[in-house]
């Protein structure tokens, strides 16, 4: 793999960089904001981002410039920008680093986005557990306000940009954009039925853009260095730029690695991550956070871009890559993820609320050697009745670990069920312990 000069992690990789305003400015910070406020029309900023090919880094990969372009130009009332810092997809921990180590990079991106869509107010919805990140952002906002980078009449341009931090309180679903809006409005964080979309009916039913932290952090660089430069990196024309991949699991060097998206999982896991931590080989990996179907060692030469991962039968999602070594039980792994989804289902849609509990029960039964032969059919059936039948993408996400492990490691499920049959042979049904989901 060719050596690569990082974009987003560049500042913080300088020795001693603390992310203060002075250091960020010394590294060229807030020049992009000054540049656009000095007279670049908002539509030109939107066009620039469209041409760069930047796509959402939160999971869905929607083109950012196109999203901004959906905001009605002639809307008379307020518009809003929400920075999605809820980062709660298991396997993902990049936004935390961006916010804690170089907060002004995120704030500058937010300010430029606000200007482009005509929003005067931005809320950073940060997950409640990230207390340190919230504190660092609050401090950075105060610094930026003091220096005139945000606030009323920024640089005498007449443009007002207010940025506030809003902490959540521990609900995964609030990373879903409409659930985030509900939560920000002070309600239970349940996703809204779409349409209408946030672009026209978002926060307080006003036009709203919701962008991920990493997405926004890219914006100042695109303004400064141009859309052609950004579009030349990665795997153009569809997946451009770099992404921060979060490597976790059984590797020697877990961590965040920023890579052009034409790199491969082999580059990430073996070259940067140092390969597996023990002498056991790679057995499976999750390519894009807990919602992405598992892949096998046969897929390590797949490129990291959205299209290539989709072609391999999974999704690049939030960029969280988790490697598992030989010997890891795939039934156990699927159960652990399923318990997460069961816990985090918001309860709005019946298939997801009830289905997640059923799947957990069946998986627990199989894992505890109480499985029955018909369980595998039931699992597939229950999953089939969740996918595509819920208001938000959570339903499709929660069945991914189960269906993909059933696809590649069905024999592990069958072996456990066979063990159960041997164990329970001759026992009456009433003597077999019943498990309940807590």
């Amino acid at each position: 793999m060719k050596t690569f000069d990082p974009i987003l992690l560049k500042n913080m990789q300088q020795p001693g960089y603390t992310g203060s305003l002075a250091e960020y400015e010394r590294a060229g910070g807030y020049q992009a904001l000054k540049q656009v406020l000095a007279g670049v029309p908002p539509d030109d900023v939107i066009d620039l981002v469209k041409k760069s090919g930047l796509r959402g880094r939160g999971g869905a990969g929607f083109p950012t410039g196109v999203k901004w372009g959906f905001i009605p130009k002639d809307h008379p009332g307020p518009k809003y920008l929400c920075c999605n810092a809820d980062e709660s997809e298991p396997g993902t921990f990049k936004d935390r680093q961006l916010m804690e180590r170089d907060p002004h990079q995120v704030l500058e991106g937010i300010a430029i986005a606000c200007y482009a869509i005509g929003a005067q107010t931005a809320y950073i919805y940060i997950r409640g557990e990230f207390r340190l990140g919230a504190k660092i952002l609050e401090r950075a906002i105060a610094e930026a306000r003091e220096a005139g980078h945000v606030g009323a009449d920024v640089y005498g341009s007449g443009v007002t940009i207010q940025i506030y931090v809003h902490a959540g309180a521990g609900a995964y679903i609030c990373g879903e954009e409409t659930a985030l809006l509900e939560s920000l409005e002070g309600k239970r964080g349940k996703p809204r039925t779409k349409p209408p979309f946030p672009a026209t009916h978002g926060l307080y039913q006003k036009p709203t853009v919701v962008n991920n932290v990493e997405t926004l952090a890219n914006v100042p660089h695109i303004v400064k260095r141009g859309s052609d430069w950004f579009a030349s990196i990665g795997s153009p024309p569809k997946s451009t730029g770099t992404r921060i991949f979060c490597l976790s699991g059984h590797v020697c060097r877990p961590g965040n690695y920023e890579l052009p998206v034409n790199a491969t999982f082999r580059d990430l896991i073996y070259e940067l991550g140092g390969g597996m931590r023990s002498d056991k080989p790679l057995k499976a990996f999750i390519p894009g956070g807990a919602s992405a179907p598992f892949l096998t060692p046969d897929h390590v030469d797949v490129q990291l871009d959205f299209e290539s991962v989709a072609l391999a039968g999974s999704m690049s999602g939030s960029g969280g890559v988790t490697a598992m070594e030989e010997g890891t039980s795939m039934v156990w792994a699927a159960l652990r993820l399923m318990e997460f989804f069961y816990h985090e289902s918001c309860g709005k849609c019946t298939p997801c609320r009830e289905g997640s509990a059923w799947i957990v029960q069946i998986l627990q039964r199989i894992q505890n050697k109480q499985g029955r032969r018909e369980d595998l059919g039931t699992l597939t059936d229950v999953c089939g009745n969740i996918g595509g039948r819920t208001v938000c993408a959570f339903g499709d996400a929660e069945i991914a670990p189960v269906l993909s492990t059933l696809k590649y490691w069905r024999h592990e499920y069958e072996a456990l069920i066979e063990e159960a049959e041997t164990l329970n042979a001759g026992r009456k049904a009433k003597d077999i312990p019943v498990l309940s989901v807590s």
């Binding site: 603390t18 680093q97 340190l132 609900a171 976790s248 059984h250 965040n256 988790t322 652990r336 997460f340």
Partner: protein, 168 residues
């Protein structure tokens, strides 16, 4: 109660949103920080501040796992149990804590110092196993580190081993 002590904070929070109800989670977080949990009195007071009914506040509280309706220990130890941490030893970590604290998951020590919880992903997957105690993360934990952290907190109420800005 909250108003008497935090009127400035409350005013600042309310000034951030065009709709008062948006300040609900920030106020609940404030109430929990103040009392260690969200009391009935706090919910009533917050309802009054935001022109909501107490049940509206209650229904929101019950949705969010970080908000507790019951008093808990002075230090809330929340262990990440999701897959990524489980791969690198979250279950061992839970075992060490149960041994050191002498309590099970969901319980509080008799001296009301520690409450132990197993929670889902805390966004620290590259640095597991890990736990959060009150506002702070503690990462790459070993049994020896766990013992020292608990001891420090018991003795001084603080521990230098908490994580600073993310370094990886």
């Amino acid at each position: 109660m909250l108003r008497a002590k935090y009127q400035n904070v409350i005013d600042d929070l309310l000034s951030r949103y065009p709709v008062k109800q948006s300040a609900l989670l920030p106020l609940l977080n404030l109430a929990q920080k103040e009392e260690g949990y969200v009391s009935q009195a706090a919910m009533k007071e917050i309802a009054g501040i935001l022109d909501l009914t107490p049940p509206q506040v209650f229904e929101t509280v019950t949705f969010y796992t970080m908000l507790s309706l019951k008093p808990i220990g002075k230090f809330h130890v929340q262990v990440c149990r999701s897959l990524m941490c489980a791969l690198v030893g979250a279950d061992n970590l839970l075992g060490w804590l149960q041994k050191h604290l002498g309590i099970g998951v969901g319980q509080t020590t008799q001296d009301k110092m520690f409450t132990l919880s197993a929670v889902e992903c805390l966004g620290s997957c590259g640095t597991g196993p890990m736990f959060q105690i009150n506002d702070d993360y503690y990462e790459r934990l070993t049994e020896e580190k766990v013992g020292r952290i608990l001891e420090d907190l018991r003795q001084t109420g603080d521990c230098a081993m908490k994580s600073g800005p993310f370094l990886l």
